[in-house]
Subunit: 338 residues, 2 copies
């Protein structure tokens, strides 16, 4: 129940009943490649547009999560899903065939955590026995929307991140003794605006939000950094991670040992030319559903604070000179192993 100022602690923790990840060729060639369920070589995913490709990827991840868990579509009561595109078109067209009531979510790259928070709250309260949390991003749809035409071949500064082409889907369930992981608590985040205005350095815009939500989690739960085997941010990348660690250090918290960033895990920096790392809703979602959950399942990591971060901007607000506020939502996963 309510814990501290902003967090929720679940007495009967919802469990991860199944999960799946689908990603593109580049992600398949990265360090997590062999862990991702489906690596699609065609960046169009057999469709005619990039947006349709992202929708197809969401659908594939959702279908696969159901299949892996032996769960029928009809058993899912609600969908919690989102993406980066204006008016969430990847989600709308990706989930329409599922015929399941949908809560469309936007938290920029923090969306997977937003979906997991609301999904866990829903299952824990008994509003549904099973729900599905989905998030996706696609390099080409994001570049087209937020930056330059791909054919323009613009130079990317080293602080820039590379939007992950990928989708992750997680089935949360109230039932079942043999969960893959338990969600024991959440810390939904508030918007934090430090006045960053560099859209080629999203890590710097998001790090203060990650800092705030981690500290709020510690305060609300009455714990410190030693409580978690890993504290995993979504897509701060190299620059944002450095800022987060420095901010933490100044606050007297040493995160050097157990911090990990999905954006720094998903690509091989030198050989893949991705600069500061990966980003996009798909970055945290794919890393969760390929690398993180299996380690919690096996008991290698007993307790993880999963903390996708989002940069809240559009080309409109950016071009009008607005700052780039950040947001980060925290999800506490614990192993089901004794």
């Amino acid at each position: 129940m309510q814990k501290g100022k902003s967090s929720i602690e679940f007495e009967n923790p919802p469990i991860v009943a199944s999960y799946a990840s689908v990603a593109g060729k580049k992600e398949g060639e990265g360090p997590l490649g062999r862990l991702i369920d489906v690596v699609e070589q065609d960046e169009m995913f057999g469709t005619e547009t990039w947006e349709q490709a992202e929708s197809a990827m969401q659908k594939q991840a959702a279908d696969l999560a159901l299949e892996k868990g032996g769960i029928r579509r009809q058993e899912i009561r609600y969908l919690f899903a989102g993406d980066l595109l204006g008016q969430l078109i990847a989600t709308s067209f990706g989930t329409v065939d599922m015929e399941i009531p949908l809560f469309g979510l936007y938290g920029a790259c923090s969306t997977m955590a937003e979906a997991l928070c609301l999904g866990a709250m829903t299952v824990h309260a008994g509003y549904g026995d099973r729900v599905l949390a989905i998030a996706s991003s696609h390099f080409a749809t994001a570049e087209k929307q937020f930056r330059f035409p791909l054919a323009y071949g613009n130079q990317r500064p080293f602080s820039a991140t590379w939007t992950v082409t990928g989708a992750g889907a997680v089935v949360l369930s109230k039932e079942g003794k043999e969960g893959i992981a338990r969600i024991t608590g959440i810390t939904p985040g508030k918007i934090v605006d430090f006045g960053s205005r560099d859209s080629m350095n999203m890590g710097a815009a998001m790090a203060p939000a990650a800092f705030h939500t981690i500290r709020q989690n510690f305060e609300d739960m009455g714990v410190d950094e030693t409580h978690y085997d890993k504290i995993i941010t979504g897509d701060l990348g190299e620059v944002g991670s450095r800022i987060l660690l420095d901010m933490m250090k100044q606050a007297g918290v040493n995160l050097e040992q157990n911090h990990m960033d999905c954006g720094m895990e998903i690509y091989q920096k030198e050989s893949q030319d991705t600069h500061a790392g990966g980003s996009g809703c798909g970055c945290a979602a794919v890393t969760l559903c390929s690398y993180i959950l299996p380690r919690i399942r096996s008991g290698e990591w007993k307790r993880v604070l999963f903390l996708p971060t989002g940069a809240l901007l559009s080309t409109v607000s950016f071009n009008e000179g607005q700052s780039i506020p950040g947001i980060a939502h925290g999800v506490v996963f614990e192993t089901c192993q004794p």
Copy 2:
């Protein structure tokens, strides 16, 4: 708790503790003008851009809802909020100063219902004593994003609706005996795609979703149209409402008597040149917070099914030849009067 296939019935119904509406000049000149809390004559709301104006309007509605209810900002545990703009910038910049954890939502013009659904679920489950549900739209931000530059002066067909400049904010609370209204149940909707492709006729795109959610509500709750004093859609407008009534008639349900559409209430059709009616997240939100809630409060309407509808498209999906799917979420309000 879980009721039927998709609905939730609340044993201890959350109450509306306070609410407020803010709207623009045109809305102030319409039939609901004198009921709206604040009618702002300056379409820029004292800011420099339309987007900032929409943000300012959201903030004003939220602050006023707190003020009217004698509630401090610190007493609100979570925000559930959204708007129509890409990456929800009206919401991000509108709520940042509140410093309250935010769940960003996108359900096109159904967003107020999505916020009320999740807010009621949260309060009922004990995750927060008070939450705030907010939705907004602005004529100029929406036209700029979805249609033509205003200066172009394009002709609008009679099936087109006029995006409402307005925001509504509702404080939901677990406590207090003297509620303005109770939320006794919800029916979250699924996406329904009838293949509509006319972006100047959103009513036709959304009517099938409204039809589906109303029928699902009847089935889940074991009721029929006589159960409600009013069944109120969000912004079907004249064309969409006619389609809904016809679809209902064919299904053997006569909604002619107790159907109302916010889009048809908010403007005076002939004198205000708004064609098929009003639309946008702000349409249902402002009508709820100026016209509907007071009538439930007084007991004039004992039970209302409030059903904002959304058309799920972007200019990208539309220009790529995709259809316009619809979604509608249902919220059951009941009076607190004996």
